[in-house]
Amino acid sequence: MRRTVITACGCVDEGGFGNARSWTPWPGGVPRLRWRTFSDQPFDRFGRLDLLCKYAVAAVEMLELPPFTEGESRPDLALLLGSDNGSLDTDVKFVRSIHEPGGASPTLFSYTLPSTALGEIAIRHHITGPSACVMAGPESGPLALWEGMAWVAEGDVGGCICVGCDAVSASVADAPSAHAYAFLVADEAAVATQGNAPLARLALSPAPDGKIDRPQRPLRQLFRLLASGGGKAPGAALYLPAPATLNVLQVMTVSNLNGRSDGRAG
């Protein structure tokens, strides 16, 4: 089993957006997402993406993956999306479009699959490795991280982008919400040879005595640990129990390696 690390993180949620380097709070409420908020690179079709894809693509943009050259692809990089509601927002909008003048919208229909977000991310970053959308209710995001770590540890791929993303708008839910957290999990040895400094180390261990405290919004907490350097000295850790649906008594320990001596909090 390979040792794994997290080398990058990204977040777009109700508070703002950012990564390990910087954080930008939204000045007012959460705005309609616009591409130029996240990147200088052109992406004319961002407007066409549905809400789920916009959040997922923006969070992955925050990872600041190295640019690729034309014709290059990334076969050794996997993509995992975990989403509770998946494409529900677009599903509902699509059904309504069937009954509107002009009829069913082909564009909306293309987005009635959460795996379309995988496609949008893969196209944007030329990722040709394995991908999957996994669903485990509210723990879908943690499941994506859990699986991503396993895929790398088991030697299937050298790296995995794990995205926990959920987006439902007011037209669909009483309590609209949208957030996306992205983490790049990689093989520690490969990262070391590239000379990069990872943000955190991951390790699995049996859960102590069967009773595990489940953090609220674990991916958000994980992002804050990494982005702020934990606000504490290196070595601060977050304990993430295995998603309950896996029925395994294991804990993932995320040990922060990105300490800040100024103790700045995120």
Partner: protein
């Protein structure tokens, strides 16, 4: 211990019948399950044909009833493994694109409608697992038309990690106005039963159904091993969100990875279960990709698509068609590619128009391609180790 997982149980409910034997025997009669619409209005969509569930399946209406139904049939099966699944630590991976899609329609059109929540693939999986009494890991996989194969892969991963002793994989999708209207809007439907790889192919036919597989890492004496998961490969086209890549590179990469994982070379494969949806672009891309791996001409193993019998069963396809691959291996017969009259793809392929008996049919490659540019390939091996 071997890392190759054994499939020790299977069942299927689809347009041609309930149970693997019923479906296979209809296929051997070259019955076409794609028929004039019964539950949906004719003249409304881009087609009046679909492969709806037969009258025998009438008691199982909706994704939950179908998934739980096929799961119960799997466990009621007489093979020893099925009995053990009830008491062992057994988990479930559910493959679906739209789960209980009728509830999505109600949520959209009837504000305040009461729903079970099974429009959410995980809730559907959780409820089915509870119904079947499983205590192991439970999750749903939603990867468009590649969901079924990816769910099988995920189940194998969980078994290898020791997260469960046995895993059940269920694939399910049901037809709805949502699906018929959507594929009509994409111009993807044939107005008549589909014709995979045919020169005159003009789109896909939709289908519905469910299938289940019982998989274990350590089969016992009393198990009937139907086949072994020898390897897989999954790769993204990174090209377009609905159209397949023109080059077929993604599918080619998936197949190459699957063969490498199975420690096989292309010449070791006895037959290929294609994706073969009968759209202009999918079949062309598939031909390029498979020809690129297998070389074309005499060396090409026979390739067949099952879409002409059962339609495109979307998220369930990977599991439904794996069940039929296992039967084909047992019967040593490659089913005819129903709907094909004249081959019309840009690369030479070996697609039988009549059922093809083989001396040896133990190594099958199955491929599935989904929206989002996802390509999945699975190698099944019928030989005991």
């Amino acid at each position: 211990m071997s890392r190759r997982c054994a499939i020790v149980g299977m069942d299927i409910i689809a347009a041609l019948g309930v149970g693997a034997e019923a479906v296979w025997s209809e296929m051997m009669r070259k019955s076409c399950g794609i028929r004039p619409l019964m539950r949906f209005p004719r003249g409304k969509y881009a087609t009046d044909f679909a492969a709806e569930l037969p009258p025998e399946a009438e008691g199982m209406s909706g994704a939950y009833a179908l998934a739980a139904g096929v799961g119960r049939r799997l466990l009621d099966g007489s093979a020893g493994g099925a009995a053990r699944a009830r008491t062992a630590r057994t988990g479930l991976v559910l493959a679906t694109t739209k789960a209980e899609i009728g509830e999505i329609e109600r949520l959209a059109l009837e504000p305040g409608a009461e729903v079970t929540g099974r429009h959410n693939p995980y809730v559907l999986a959780r409820d089915v697992a509870k119904d079947l009494g499983f205590s192991g890991p439970v999750m749903a996989v939603s990867n468009a038309c590649a969901s079924g194969l990816i769910a099988i892969v995920q189940a194998v991963r969980l078994l290898r990690r020791g997260a469960a002793e046995m895993m059940v994989v269920i694939g399910v999708d049901v037809l709805a106005d949502f699906i018929l209207a959507g594929f009509s809007a994409l111009n993807a439907l044939s107005p008549r039963p589909c014709r995979p790889y045919d020169a005159g192919r003009d789109g896909l036919s939709l289908g519905e159904g469910a299938a289940a597989l019982l998989i274990t890492l350590a089969p016992r004496q009393e198990d009937v091993v139907l086949g072994v998961v020898a390897g897989w490969g999954i790769a993204n086209d990174a090209c377009h969100i609905t159209a397949p890549s023109r080059t077929g590179d993604g599918l080619r990469a998936a197949v190459t990875r699957a063969l490498a994982a199975a420690n096989l070379s292309p010449g070791d494969i006895h037959c290929i279960n294609g994706h073969g949806t009968a759209t202009l672009y999918n079949d062309a891309m598939e031909a390029k990709a498979l020809h690129g791996v297998f070389g074309g001409g005499e060396r090409m193993p026979p390739l067949s698509s099952l879409k002409g019998y059962l339609g495109h069963t979307l998220g369930a396809a990977g599991v439904i068609e794996t069940v039929l691959c296992l039967v084909a291996m047992r019967e040593r017969t490659v089913p005819a590619c129903l709907g094909l009259e004249r081959l019309g793809v840009e690369r030479p392929l070996n697609v039988p128009r009549e059922h093809l008996p083989l001396q040896r049919l133990t190594r099958v490659l199955s491929v599935k391609c989904g929206f989002g540019g996802i390509n999945a390939a699975l190698v099944l091996d019928g030989e005991a180790e």
